[in-house]
Symmetry: D2
Subunit: 337 residues, 4 copies
């Protein structure tokens, strides 16, 4: 941590900051610059509420040096975390495909989609039983019945079940049926929920908050890790920007940037990121080219009649074509799919 | 809803869209333009998942006409909603002041702050007992003991207690102590929590999500209203933008814009919006000048030692000055404070 | 400047950084932290291209300490800069009003508007003779004839003329007619234009780029100042964010934040910021309450027939009401208008 | 264009809107909805300043139906525009590589870089002779001497010269030396400059404004096209968002989205988009996988000593590796490189 003093800071003010820094258990080093005095603080600043030094008299600003996540960092664990998923895994050489409808609508269509995506190469089946909807008048999901249908689809296909949990008290129920607990973008900083999935025995798929920085994203992952659950899959799903040609702005650079920062696997959700079926395939190819460990995709046999997010769902046929083209890209970057 | 067809859409594709629109219970009107055919749909489009028409063959885009919130709209209720708060109210002529520490730290300091802000003119006491923190290693709050301290402060001062609830299962507990249930910016789209506070008998202070549009903000309020709780206070607290000179970007225009859209009271949180103690007073004045029904402010006797958000807390003395200057501005715009 | 080394940086890499820092004429101070070594660099880092140290072996990141503007800074000049404007000034106690049509459309209407805004209290007349339009098929302005009409309006009213210049080669022409040269938001980093107005003998009204940080805004002002023109008026006019309820997001906190950073006067443009006539008055009040030194407003007698930006123009009657309410707010904050 | 009336709009207000629409040469169609009346307007709305209808009495909002660009649209020209570039072209099957230093620094290093990138497969040489810098104290370029060095490098290598022009009056000079005139992100809406390059006989490489929507980007291209220059290359170079882990946010989805909207070729600039040498290769692969027609890359033999943008420059060796890996990706998506 670096404390930058104001140009006219007095020696007493510098002394006061040094005292405070020492009270925090850090060692202050004063450097007299030509225009500013700075106090460099040595020690683990992550455990301190250092920001409050910003209001000490004579302080201009406080600049943190260390990222605030630890367990999630590459430094803490140089080798990549690999998380088993159905017949495959996430984080190893093979790019993992997780596909399915946005929401579980009925038993028959779910089984049909599951068989189709399995056939095309998926290792995971996605589908929401509890749907957090922006619009209170929209379809909210089938709840436990949806989970039962998902479990049945697993029986039939061997696909791992990835489904969202939206409230801490649902975690035991969802964990009974699901293989991976998904935390949605609107809940990335729902700390009660992060604590609940952090105590579960199933891997967590954590979606990036739509306005979360990469550091905040890793701090949310850290929350889960610190609660004891070491199996966290990160998912870039687009951030909110001024652009409206796509629903969100997919940050493809976030994939390699995260890989530098953390050992956790990173997957991509081109369906939610773009909100447009016609862009799902090129963005999927881009994600794989940039090093994504997996893809999370919305597939529906009849997007026009999908109860949720039809505009961004692709048909099983389109999914088959997407898999074929992404496989070539995966091979071009030294991986399989 | 307006469905815009692609330039080369066939008559069959237009017919198909009309059929779909009729299946939704809406009446389609076809207009042949010089470059595009559009299908205007008459009826209450809010109850339909109209977006999926975007994937019908030959469709270029679907443009909604109506905002998707209803109960929250000015149209549904032209007169303003006024919500009682301690010895005052929010939404009437007098601008309501709610002030206190970010987090409840201990009994003595809370009582001291409560007395000071009461003296300066506040009608509500804010203070977090459950703190959702981005950083898993930061102070998380005193939980029920914090609520007890808050209740004691109410006894001593008559201030209404405004405190955050972070999980659906905490709602009954918090509602037992608090006068207003606060839903934080990171939970604005935590629909399980919205449903829980929607079922409570206490008013809800709903903070704008840091990346929520005004329409999404009102849809979150609608969620609470649709669950039966008609007492929702909206709070502009800054949105996330590229600017870093302030912690968030306070959108002062959101205040009058919301007033056009909804009958619900709108307050402002200059402390979180700016993250800088030196900007709290001018931004508070601006909020009052723009028509805010109240201010939510962080006050701490010793910001340098605050456990949470010290950098944005002001002292009771500074709060007194702020109240004096905001009172003049309130009077300049025909209100009191 | 602080150079943060990677956790496994070698002594040779640290040595190499120190050598480079010395080559730049700065003095390096090495601090061995518990997790990182940092090299604090003393001297005027603003003249160096220090960022390239980021690619030196073993370097994790480079953190600048000093803002890169100098002449524009409060440090360089603690007292506020006051710029004469017609019968008044910008930057002194009285809040300056600059009003007029977005574009100069014809002689008669310009003279009518000028008389009306003068009567209501304006000291400056705005109006574009050269209109930079996003849309190549939109009205582009009257050019020199527009300037002549503006000069005639000055003769008739005593109002100072504020008009935009869009190309370096137009600067002599526009400076011949205008009292203040406006640089628009889309040209804030048009450095050829900044250099040209920096060499002119007329004050410059510099609008904030719609995606410029405050530091970048002040660097653009610095560009003009460094070219010799010391009369720069800064104008907050809204930044681009995800919100679409308003055309841009007016950052009211930017006003007091800039006042801390610089001695230059800061005015606000609520018309372009909101793009909505119904929000211009409340946002104007907010700007004055936050400390703005002036307001730049679009006024048109018949907004429905305005050739440019009708949706955000207010009528002379509405302007009169705005002036009355802003005057009360100005007085509430210890100023006049 | 769709005009949505307020819920309580009177028949006279609707009549007034219809009259105005007719005055614009459009045909109004009134549709009585259950909650709103809308007026659908048939005809070419692009030539009208339709937005001003938003201030007509009783109007709630105006929704445009058509995009405002015409010549740039796919509809106007279904087949892709292919622009010759040195020994190759942009917009055809082969992905074009344009590489070189950010700024031309001296003759020797430029010739060295040119030879190296030619050897690795580039068809174009980039390098700035006029540098628009945010910081007035930074290196501003060698001007005409830089252009001479570039021309010499073309002689030596056969590479096409791509260089930025920053002021309208420089266009003839730069066009004398360069093969492609680059318009930078900060000048995307410098309409005087767009008009100047629109009148030149050389292709234009237009960089996306850092806060420009795709529609605004195409309107800027339309400006150039409307001035008579049909050879415009679009370049996605990252947009400004809240994220700071990368300098800008590279929008990979913009590539296929633009391809749907326009016939113009689309290239990518991973160097400026990320600002980080370590992310240039993965983002380049992603751009190619998403369908980019070319890459614009910063290459410098000694990034640590580059005068400009060293942090994002890669060495010729790294460029060679990037070309090899991007070539495989290009082949995976059915193209060459």
């Amino acid at each position: 941590m670096i404390v930058v003093m104001q140009p006219k800071a007095t020696p007493e003010q510098v002394r006061h900051v040094m005292d405070r820094v020492e009270e925090m258990g850090l060692a202050p080093h004063v450097i007299q610059g030509t225009e500013r005095t700075v106090v460099a603080c040595v020690g683990d600043e992550r455990l301190k509420s250092a920001e409050r030094l910003a209001v000490a008299p004579g302080v201009e600003k406080v600049i943190p040096v260390l990222a605030r996540y630890k367990i999630a960092s590459r430094e803490a664990r140089p080798e990549p975390t690999v998380i088993p998923l159905g017949t495959g895994s996430v984080g190893a050489d093979r790019v993992a495909l997780i596909a399915g409808p946005c929401a579980v609508e009925d038993r028959a269509s779910l089984l049909e989609i599951a068989a189709a995506v399995r056939e095309a190469g998926a290792v995971g089946l996605r589908g929401g039983a509890f749907k957090p909807r922006t619009d209170p008048y929209a379809f909210q999901g089938l709840a436990e019945q949806g989970l039962e249908f998902l479990a049945e689809a697993r029986e039939a296909t061997g696909l791992a079940i990835v489904t969202e949990v939206v409230a801490p008290e649902h975690v035991p129920l969802v964990a009974r049926y699901a293989d991976v607990l998904q935390v949605g973008t609107r809940n990335m900083q729902n700390f009660a929920l992060l604590a609940a999935v952090g105590g579960a025995a199933k891997p967590v798929l954590l979606k990036r908050g739509m306005s979360a920085t990469l550091e905040e994203f890793l701090l949310a992952a850290e929350y889960v890790l610190a609660c004891g659950n070491k199996q966290v899959i990160l998912c870039e799903r687009g951030i909110r920007t001024f652009e409206r040609a796509t629903r969100f702005t997919f940050s493809v650079a976030a994939i390699p940037a995260l890989k530098h920062m953390t050992h956790l696997p990173v997957i991509a959700d081109p369906s939610h990121a773009t909100g447009r079926a016609d862009l799902v395939e090129p963005v999927s190819r881009a994600a794989v080219a940039a090093g994504a460990d997996g893809l999370l995709l919305e597939v529906h046999p009849d997007p026009e009649n999908a109860l949720v997010d039809g505009a961004q769902s692709i048909t099983p046929e389109a999914f088959g074509r997407l898999v074929a083209s992404c496989r070539k890209v995966a091979e071009a970057v030294g991986r399989s799919l």
